[in-house]
């Protein structure tokens, strides 16, 4: 059995000797540390991974209550059980100790049987806390690995072309996310673009993104046919969910960007509409059909086409952007960009959209976020006059 690390804090040598003698009687395997004041107690807590503290109230450089309070306020130390030793056998000091977060009390002179029983109980509790801690760390390590794996499914680079500029922002909320995107170079002039959002959270969502990546590859014969691709993907996901998680669904936009003619040929499965942004225009690319993927088999998707002019931008995004855009604002939700700019007086265009994008970049760069955030911008560069 592993030795328990126990710290005794008292300024009287005699008291320390006595406590140590009692504890040795208990037969618990232990390593005892001594501190004669608050400063030494703090130093020991920092140095040793403690399992229990026996703490006197009146110390030369402060009160045991203060030591207790400050240790219980630290995440790293709050699970160390503390027994407060007091000569004051009154309700007031007990309440003060409870307020400071102490786990147990003993009044001096200490009864050896009571001391040993309380120590044993608290050590048992600490062992359970240690075990939980260990399991949590294990889980944490596995999540970190899963995050890395998921990153490996995402495109390593953003494709670059003459005259067409692409930009991506991808920020998963905690560890792993349900947002996913992909670029597929179909041939020199055609780029497949997928953006999707697995509804549901955590590890399962992330595993579903892996399934999508795999299924997309398996459906590569449909890369040029967005409606067919989404139709097949829908059937496969529906089958997958029906045997696993039937409250999951996926919203997605898949489109083919014709780099020669600056055309975008796309289908939408229940995803927030992409937008075409010009200097003073903002047009929603609505679709008639398009249920999210994975709900009903046999869904038919329609396919539409938009031609991008020089200087225009195509903006694809997941709805996580709104949680950032709306923070601190009265409106609690919005589901489209148009909704978000609703009520603005100026003609909405690139300037406003860029401002929103910048805000999202800045915020996600320095804050924890509740939902994944992902957007893709395709800009047709303005050509210099010959």
């Amino acid at each position: 059995m592993q030795k328990s690390n126990i710290l005794l804090v008292d300024d009287y040598e005699v008291n320390l000797e006595l406590l140590e003698a009692y504890l040795e009687l208990s037969g618990i395997p232990m390593q005892i540390y001594r501190a004669y004041n608050c400063a030494e107690a703090y130093a020991c807590v920092e140095k040793v991974s403690l399992d229990l503290i026996l703490l006197d109230v009146m110390l030369p450089d402060g009160s045991g209550y203060d030591v207790c309070r400050s240790l219980k306020g630290f995440y790293a130390y709050q699970s160390i059980p503390i027994i407060i030793l007091t000569a004051l056998n009154d309700k007031q000091s007990m309440l003060e100790g409870l307020q400071a977060g102490a786990d147990e009390f003993l009044t001096k002179p200490v009864d050896s049987h009571e001391l040993i029983l309380r120590v044993k109980n608290l050590l048992k509790m600490k062992a359970i806390a240690n075990d939980l801690d260990q399991r949590y760390s294990q889980l944490h390590r596995e999540l970190v690995i899963a995050t890395e794996l998921q990153k490996s499914f995402l495109p390593r680079t953003v494709p670059a072309y003459d005259g067409v500029h692409l930009e991506v922002l991808y920020r998963p909320s905690s560890y792993i996310g349900g947002d996913f995107y992909d670029f597929i170079q179909i041939d020199d002039d055609h780029l497949g673009i997928l953006i999707c959002d697995v509804k549901g959270h955590g590890v399962a969502s992330a595993m579903i993104t892996a399934t999508i990546k795999f299924q997309m590859y398996d459906l590569r014969q449909y890369y040029r046919l967005p409606d067919q691709l989404l139709g097949h993907l829908n059937d496969r996901l529906e089958q997958f969910f029906s045997s696993t998680a039937n409250d999951y669904f996926v919203t997605a936009v898949y489109g083919v960007l014709d780099l020669e003619r600056n055309r975008f040929f796309y289908s939408n499965a229940g995803h927030s509409s992409p937008y075409l942004c010009g200097t003073e225009s903002l047009v929603s690319l609505e679709n008639q059909q398009g249920l999210p993927l994975g709900i009903l088999p046999g869904m038919v998707y329609d396919c539409q086409q938009v031609v991008l002019q020089q200087g225009q931008e195509l903006f694809l995004y997941t709805d996580g952007i709104f949680e950032i855009a709306l923070r601190g604002k009265a409106a609690k939700s919005c589901s489209s960009l148009m909704d978000f700019f609703d009520g603005a007086e100026l003609p909405i265009g690139l300037a406003q959209v860029h401002q929103l994008q910048q805000e999202i970049r800045q915020y996600t760069g320095s804050h924890q976020i509740a939902d994944d955030v992902n957007y893709i911008v395709v800009r047709i560069e303005e050509q210099e006059e010959a």
Partner: protein, 114 residues
């Protein structure tokens, strides 16, 4: 906070949901409604959403799970009393294409028996 009130009569089960139907409460309510349908062996269901002030994708997931379950058992499901917000969210996800949506309980009962 979100709650569900369950009732049944000879023809159907009614689940009245109230509050914010969002992540954190959806899986519990999803199970409650599912278990209620199973134990009463009744897959004609009215989901009353008139007291739902807010819904997120996890709430939509629960609606879809019930929809799928009812379909598997050749039952019917009708959603009624949608607030503007809920109607909008369901519309954005295009779920209004497959859900039967009505305004009042009377219409819901009629739709179930149609």
């Amino acid at each position: 906070m979100c709650q569900v009130h369950l009732e049944k009569n000879a023809h159907c089960v009614t689940a009245a949901i109230s509050g914010e139907f969002i992540l954190g409460c959806t899986s519990e309510i999803k199970e409650k409604v599912k278990n209620y349908m199973e134990s009463s062996q009744q897959y004609h269901v009215i989901i009353d959403l008139s007291q739902v002030s807010f819904i997120d994708s996890s709430g939509l997931g629960a609606l879809i799970a019930w929809f799928k379950m009812v379909n598997q058992h050749q039952g019917r499901i009708v959603f009624c009393g949608l607030t503007d917000h809920v109607r909008k969210i369901i519309g954005y996800a295009k779920l209004d294409k497959i859900f039967t949506i009505v305004d009042t309980m009377e219409e819901a009962e009629k739709a179930l028996n149609a």
